[in-house]
């Protein structure tokens, strides 16, 4: 052991110990400031962090009161979280990867907006229009570089000189071809970032329908997700998830979903089991308005929707399955239907229940309500059925629509 310079080893070890100690006791404020500036820069909006607790020895980072402000609406937060706990995977650091053993998010809230095309997005159209997808500093630097190039006398001379007739005959100077440096490609592709376990508890999603109707909160959300990575196809485990929450404020409606998304070995297999119960139809109808006006014309006054089923995709092909759908306490008075569905305008039902087993398969439109009706997989119990008939219409073959639909 005479080849080791022990005093140097001792000094280095001491410096490392002091570094660990200093980071543990004084690094929180530095990390907090860096986190805020980094987040604000990357997201191009105000990113605020409350308290930070960092432990190098136990390799965790605990952050409280995270707020990301909406760039489109001043003063309104886009995302908030009371507690976020991250525990790093130290071994992955030595492999030049960013790995997290687990992340726990508690009491987080986010707003999800429905666009006019029916997509759900985090940022409103206003915010998206305002948001420069290029961070400000980069944009300024790019503009400055462009401006500097435009007024660069050498660049101007290079542009003007050929027009003066001096260098026209001379062949244009081509830069010497420089072959790029050889780099050995990575042998086995691995994700640069991975998160083994994400858990959420008591989170809230505020779903805002297009058109300005009241938002629908999904609250009490809890669940987990495993196998998240920046390169799912090269990761060693599939993405699995499970979530449970309540839909609507002050209701007993709940939703649950669990599944597995497997991108490994070049195939995409997705399996999702879902169930929801007693969802108020009136609260979800504003979301359906973007896709179809049919439900608007039904003028649903009351009713709850429940469903459960499995959606499975093998190599992105929908596998056949059945979805159980049940509507209870449906009260509706149809109005505004035209042409062949005009007969529906005379329909009014109340306190009606309807149970359907809807087939799901790979042929569009995937959900086959018509097949369910043909195969008579429908059970209904209608109460207070009302069909208003105007006797003057009797001569105009008003039942044409009903006859065409072969409803008996």
């Amino acid at each position: 052991m005479k080849i080791i310079r022990w005093p140097a080893v001792a000094v280095l070890s001491l410096a490392l110990l002091i570094g660990f100690f200093w980071m543990g006791h004084s690094g929180d404020e530095i990390v907090r400031r860096n986190l805020e500036s980094f987040g604000s820069y990357e997201l191009n909006t105000l990113f605020k962090v409350g308290a930070v607790d960092l432990s190098v020895y136990e390799s965790y980072l605990h952050v409280e009161n995270i707020t990301v402000m909406d760039p489109g609406q001043r003063g309104r937060p886009l995302f908030t979280a009371q507690h976020v706990h991250l525990r790093a995977d130290i071994a992955s650091f030595f492999e030049r990867r960013a790995g997290l053993q687990e992340a726990h998010v508690e009491q987080a809230a986010a707003r999800i907006l429905q666009t006019r095309h029916g997509r759900f997005v985090f940022l409103s159209d206003t915010a998206r229009a305002m948001l420069a997808y290029e961070p400000m500093a980069v944009r300024v630097r790019r503009i400055m570089s462009w401006a500097a190039h435009q007024i660069n006398p050498l660049a101007i001379a290079g542009v003007v000189a050929p027009h003066l007739g001096r260098d026209i005959a001379a062949p244009p100077a081509t830069p010497a071809a420089r072959s790029p440096e050889f780099r050995l490609p990575a042998g086995m592709r691995r994700p640069e970032f991975f998160l083994n376990l994400l858990t959420i508890s008591n989170c809230t999603l505020e779903l805002v329908p297009h058109g300005g109707a009241d938002p629908l909160p999904v609250h009490g959300l809890r669940g987990y997700c495993t196998g998240i990575s920046s390169m799912p196809r090269a990761h060693d485990q599939p993405v699995t998830f499970a979530a449970f929450g309540y839909l609507g404020a002050g209701t007993e409606a709940w939703i649950a979903a669990a599944g597995e998304v497997d991108f490994r070995a070049g195939v995409t297999n997705i399996t999702v089991d879902f169930a929801f119960s007693n969802v108020l139809l009136r609260s979800v109808l504003p979301f359906a308005r973007v896709y179809t006006r049919f439900l608007d014309n039904l003028n649903v006054q009351a009713g709850t929707l429940s469903a459960r089923g499995r959606v499975a995709l093998r190599e992105m092909i929908v596998q056949p399955s059945l979805i159980d759908v049940r509507v209870d306490g449906l009260t509706a008075r149809a109005a505004g239907f035209v042409n062949e569905l005009a007969w529906l305008n005379m329909l009014a039902i109340s306190n009606t229940s309807l149970a359907i087993q809807v087939p799901l398969d790979s042929t569009p439109p995937y959900v086959h309500m018509d097949t369910a009706l043909k195969e008579q997989k429908v059970q209904t119990q209608i109460e207070n059925f009302e069909l208003r008939i105007n006797v003057r219409d009797l001569q105009q073959n008003f039942l044409k629509g009903i006859q065409d639909l072969r409803i008996q």
Partner: protein
């Protein structure tokens, strides 16, 4: 004074380290690792510094060969190097770049040559100046 306690193997090892350090890309992870190892092992620091200065001069003509040498080494055993470069810590050293690998190879060859030359010089100097032992 500066070269007190300098033995032939220690001098050779220090010269080797100094020349290698001079050839490596300055302040790169590999350079920092080499510098750390030099400090932590019982090399002769003045000899290392002297070899570093000499190696820096030597690196000027040598640097033209780095890319070619590195590429030849990397292409010779692609699968082997790919597996090696994914090992923990080694992945930080950027040895997958032909220029870095070439600097290591050329530096090691030049350092070994300088170390052997120093050993020979030490040997011949000792032949002319033998150590006088006290008569028992």
């Amino acid at each position: 004074m500066l070269f007190r306690g300098l033995t032939a193997p220690r001098c050779a090892a220090s010269i080797f380290c100094g020349v290698v350090l001079a050839c490596l890309p300055t302040a790169s992870p590999l350079w920092l690792l080499a510098a750390l190892l030099i400090i932590l092992t019982r090399t002769h620091i003045p000899a290392v510094l002297l070899a570093w200065c000499a190696g820096s001069l030597l690196a000027v003509p040598l640097s033209a060969c780095y890319t070619q040498a590195g590429e030849a080494v990397l292409r010779a055993h692609t699968a082997f190097w790919s597996a090696i470069f994914q090992l923990p810590v080694i992945c930080y050293l950027e040895l997958h770049r032909a220029r870095v690998m070439g600097s290591v190879v050329c530096g090691a060859i030049a350092g070994a040559a300088a170390a052997v030359a120093s050993l020979l010089a030490f040997f011949f100097w000792r032949l002319r100046h033998p150590v006088r032992t006290e008569a028992l």
